[in-house]
Amino acid sequence: MSTPLQIVVCGSIVPDPLQTLDPVTGAGSPSIKNEMMLPAILDPWAGHALYEAAHLAQKTPGSKVWLVSLGPKAKLQQVMMTVAQKVPFELVALDGTASGFSDSFETAAALAGAIATIPGLDHSKLLVFGGWESASRGAGSTLQMVGERLGIVEQFQGVDQITVREDGSFEVLERIEGGRHQVSICAAPPAVLGWATGHLPEPRNNPQVGMANMRAIMPALQRAKAAPISSAGLRFHSVSLPKQQRETRIVKNMPAEEIAREIVAWIGEE
């Protein structure tokens, strides 16, 4: 593999999925109760994108990975302490909301603006990665608009695999309906890839990588520009938690055969 790649991963932070989330509605956009107090993690699908980017960069000498992240600076710093130990990357931070209730259109504008200012970025080597959906807004629409703003119309979503070939072209597997993958060949970068889970496990923490990353991450956080997201045209009529509590019947000491009969009867019910 000859051509070095420049891989820009877009990824933000989300509340730890084990936390209880309560919506708060007020005069402006809704928010999550005590959002700044909740532990945060790197958005899971963005995390997969970052690990895939690092893996691809490692296999392609001369390649580099950036992580462009929009979130409250203090929370970004917290999350980066962990993420920085996983794989090598350079952070481009934007100080703003990571709320799921903000508008993907404006988020895309902020991210595309930040990508455009990365020094030395060469579109002929550029791959823009990210999660195909976030675990907050879950819209699956931000990356496409980032791509449009950067003039990139080779776009793929729900990506589980990229294979770069000798001639610089690459094969992409995208998730489609019915547990299948669509296979495409893209002749060359630039391209946008929204990642599903891919095939890589989460890398182990590597303190040396962490130390090397953090040297650049702290200055990047200090440099983080404010990225106001107004979501002016978006109006929430209501935000509510589902009434999900069920009265669970716990069945103990029932013979397996009887359980099986009960389940068969239940399956057969209309």
Binding site: P15, G100, A196, P242, T248
Partner: protein, 335 residues
């Protein structure tokens, strides 16, 4: 009510699939003047399929470049249809094809986009969409002032339109096919007898990591687990889901169920399928997994731990039992 454009694409058989007919029903229920925009190889059969729906116009972008799902060509076709129709509200089924292309189209039109809408309503005289946030943790009703507003409707949330076929008067919309460096070369699918994901199944069967753990005799029974699960899926015509911990095992080189992939994963970083019933086995029912069960109506679980997550109001019934044993009996009864 504002004017509506419904964007649909044809399937490989030239017709519209169920999600398109569901979106059509949702569009008609809103009550605005409806234009249908069709994209694909040849549009007449699909337009005829819904000729009796009452749409004011049938706009068509058809031809070879539009037979395959691909961002550049799909976005160009959808953009042309949107500009031709000039509708304020653009609805589409949330297929993988439209989910890929339409957010970019919204940007090109200076509009906004919302995806994964589960229903549409009229609030204060304007359209409003209901969708979930934070991976099915909370539900919101929202509207937008920007137009066009592109809304993608999730499949399985609305009844499909049914009505008379006929002969539709279609209007071809000319599109300058954009240059693209992407060639779609095919589809990778499991062999027919290995297909474990069945979106239309009445039952979702979920396997957790417990299937690959040591059993009371001190040994792992991976082969038997595979036989039991596949046997059940065939007999019950169920769809297979997995917990993250189980599908992750395949990436870590540990004993795994060979047919289980990340495509089967249910939960926070997996799918949120819609099935009337779900049966969980050897899975603890932790919150990040259970958010993927949001649209499974009746839930039962089999687990050895009476204090697992399922017991805390997440399942209707929790059987405290050995799943291997129950599944052996289940398969006998279903045989």
């Amino acid at each position: 009510m504002e004017s509506i454009l419904l964007l649909v694409h044809m399937e490989s058989d030239g017709l519209l699939a169920k999600p398109a007919l569901e979106a059509l029903a949702a569009a008609l229920a809103l009550g605005g003047e409806l234009t249908v925009g069709l994209v694909g190889g040849a549009a007449q059969p699909a337009a005829n399929q819904i000729a009796g729906c009452g749409a004011a116009r049938f706009l068509v972008v058809a031809g070879d470049p539009y037979t395959q799902p691909r961002y550049a060509t799909d976005a160009a076709a959808a953009e042309a249809l949107c500009r031709q129709a000039g509708a304020a509200l653009v609805l589409a089924p949330a297929t993988s094809r439209w989910a890929r292309a339409l957010p970019g189209v919204a940007y090109r039109l200076g509009g906004r986009v919302d995806t994964h809408a589960t229903s549409l309503s009229v609030q204060d005289g304007a359209p409003a969409a209901t969708r979930w946030f934070y991976r099915q943790r909370m539900e919101a009703v929202l509207s937008r002032s920007e137009r066009p507003w592109v809304v993608l409707l999730d499949a399985g949330c609305n009844p499909a339109w049914t009505g008379p076929a006929g002969t539709a008067q279609v209007e071809a919309v000319t599109v300058e096919t954009p240059p693209t460096r992407t060639t779609v070369t095919g589809v990778q699918a499991p062999k027919a007898d290995e297909q474990t994901i069945r979106p239309d199944a009445r039952l979702l069967f979920v396997a957790g990591a417990g299937w690959t753990k040591k059993q009371p005799d001190g040994a792992v029974h991976g082969a038997e687990a595979e036989t039991l699960i596949l046997g059940f899926l065939r007999a019950a015509k169920a769809s297979l889901g997995g917990s993250k911990s189980l599908v992750d095992l395949s990436g870590e080189g540990q004993p795994v169920l060979r047919f289980m992939t990340h495509l089967n994963q249910i939960g926070q970083t997996g799918a949120t399928p819609r099935h009337p019933k779900g049966l969980s086995t050897c899975c603890h029912g932790e919150e990040p997994h259970v958010v993927g069960w949001r649209f499974v109506n009746q839930r039962r679980a089999i687990n050895l731990d009476p204090n697992c997550g399922w017991a805390r109001g997440k399942a209707d019934v929790l059987y405290v039992a050995d799943a291997f044993e129950v599944m052996r009996h289940l398969n006998k009864l279903l045989a």
